[in-house]
Subunit: 393 residues, 2 copies
């Protein structure tokens, strides 16, 4: 039988404590939580009370070099993800990082190289990839049922947040702490699912809006306009200032269209490719026969547990990763490109010029003001997965 | 009793012949069709066979000066609308023009001035303003139920057209003949309804795509990104190359949201203004109580007949116009601004610089190529309203 994975969690704030508790309660087969790490003494106190028998570290180097873990989960603030991933890789420790992969593409590309050379299992917590509707739409699109891509559209603004949320951590909604706003904190899943289904566009023009709804120096509203190599168009809209908000994805292809909204995937397929039909039809605005089918999400996705289980299986049995760590760079590229387009007030080509991005990011950080709101309160729900991290319809 | 309006129709192609037949069949109270005009002998032959007793002209000057009409409907190719409207106004003839008001804002502004000075009743065929869902959404938005505008979004691409359609007239889909593509031919209603509900944005950044789906030199796909004075955002997407396409309008405000799709208006209202809630709530991502109501369009809108009847009532009884001719400039401004933004690859402010637009339009016309497709066939359905001119869900 395969060996048990002895796992450590680095960073046990909101997200990491939930991963820690899942592992502690043996919700992930083949894994055992043996260590946690946090620089905050209060969080370690929580761990000592709630994760009996698990070794606590306040320095991640010590955890990695402790000899008691052969895998870690990284759930620190974003800028630390690549740093810790690289150290784990260099020590032969398998690693699952929280999203986003990092805050800038250059650093993440370097991390990917280090991970590749190390040969460890490297995954990223894109838990929304376990959603059955996104999975089915990806399958249908990628096997060609929808034909060539014509248009991708995602209105994803059911990310409402109050000012109190933004005040709940000094790092929140700052260029230093998160490397951006809604695109870096709320939307990494959406940006990943977008490219996971359609592949990457070749250029981006984005409009971001600094503190449109909240007193913050990063964007809390953004629209991304994208172009694909074949001329297809992508539009992505998000904000944290609308209620109840909308989560509606639409893909239009040369053989049909698909819409996901309210937990329901509707696929409408043509019987032939529309491009040929457009050329050959003698009618002007014909009514064309279509087949329509609807798939309703009956069960919640396996989410974080699913990704943790897949990580465990990959280590123990060589199961292919659902969410390889190297793929974190794609969604991040979309976010970085959106910021660069905003700052330059122009189109930005993909793949992104990594150095140019870093240069602009540094200028923005240097000109960054203090956050306009004081820390008000702390989120008390540790050790549990929040519904906000699941797909919300 | 009020006098009967003796009406002439100038241009009896697809649209004009349908208006002519409606009037001929007395579907519009208080009006009598007494004259038609077309420069095409075949169309006049059709009129002689189908509109017995109606006087036929091949020159609109003669019709206007005939002394037998006191109102006209203009249904010629777009560039002629302002020319004929002005001549009618100067002769004291009431006038209802087809959309768009013209092809450029400067000419239309001049027309509006002439119409105003003349004192005649001047209306424009924005038949989609009679749709009960748009009417109700406008009422709800404009009386403040949705609060301040946050975001307007319209995916309106159920305008599928074949290449045969584009080949059905030399003027179709050319800069000379129509002054543009999908934004000038298919979308005038949508651009009007957009501004009719929300008012005008203050700047536009648009992406238009020349012949993405068809061999034409004008755009058959466009995305308009708009900003309003209060920071609200508008996104408008259209094309004639997708099937089955989508017609989905969404308005997000500080007190709720509204969606129109599939002949159904859904309004979701908050109990207080979200901006205050965002500031004052101690929760981070609260679930907020909302009221939702749904309105289904049970009956078809009165459409063209409704606008014709309103025109007649305005002349005879002073009834306020549902669609005053002067308001045609707003939707046209959005289309013109979209083109100018495309050509300049930059934002364009509204109100538009009329002379700059004319300058660019002339350059585009000069560089315009021949249409890539030959005229294939003619549309044989004269004298009837086509479903394509109604709101399509």
């Amino acid at each position: 039988m395969e060996q048990i994975v002895n796992i450590g969690v680095v960073g046990i704030g909101n997200m990491g404590s939930a991963h820690g508790m899942s592992l502690y309660k043996n919700k992930v087969k083949g894994c055992k939580l043996v260590a946690v790490c946090d620089s905050d003494e209060k969080r370690l106190q929580w761990a000592k009370s709630n994760l009996k028998g698990v070794k606590c570290f306040n320095d991640y180097h010590e955890l990695i070099n402790s000899g008691i873990v052969n895998a870690i989960v990284v759930a620190t603030p974003h800028p630390m993800h690549p740093v810790i991933v690289e150290e784990a890789c260099k020590n032969g420790i398998h690693v699952l990082t929280e999203k986003p992969a990092g805050v800038d593409v250059k650093t993440v590309a370097h991390m990917n190289q280090v991970a590749k050379e190390s040969g460890v299992v490297f995954s990223i917590m894109y838990n929304q990839r376990t959603n059955p509707l996104y999975t089915e739409l990806r399958r249908v699109f990628q096997n060609g049922d929808l034909g060539q891509l014509v248009r991708f559209n995602w209105i994803i603004n059911n990310w409402y947040r109050t000012d109190a949320y933004y005040a709940s951590g000094d790092w929140r909604a700052t260029w230093d702490g998160e490397g951006g706003g809604v695109l870096m904190n709320q939307c990494p899943h959406n940006l990943d699912i977008w490219q996971w289904i359609t592949g990457m566009p070749i250029r981006i023009r984005a409009f971001c809006h600094k503190g449109l709804f909240h007193p913050i120096d990063v964007e809390d509203s953004a629209e991304i306009f994208a172009e694909y190599e074949n001329g297809a168009i992508g539009i992505f809209q998000t904000s944290t200032g609308e209620y109840p908000g909308t989560n509606r994805m639409e893909i239009s292809g040369t053989r049909g269209k698909a819409v996901i909204e309210n937990g329901k995937l509707t696929i409408t397929l043509l019987k032939e490719d529309l491009m040929e039909y457009t050329k050959n039809s003698k009618e002007f605005m014909p009514k064309i026969d279509v087949d329509e089918r609807t798939i309703i999400q009956e069960e919640p996705e396996s989410a974080h547990i699913g990704i943790l289980q897949n990580f465990s299986n990959a280590i123990r049995k060589g199961e292919p990763l659902l969410s390889p760590g190297e793929e974190g760079i794609y969604g991040l590229s979309l976010a970085n490109a959106a910021y660069l387009s905003w700052w330059k007030n122009d189109f930005v080509n993909l793949p992104l010029d990594e150095d140019e991005y870093l240069h602009f990011l540094q200028s923005i950080k240097n000109s960054n003001h203090e956050k306009h709101i004081k820390t008000l309160c702390e989120d008390g729900s540790y050790g549990e997965y929040s519904n906000r991290w699941k797909v919300k319809w």
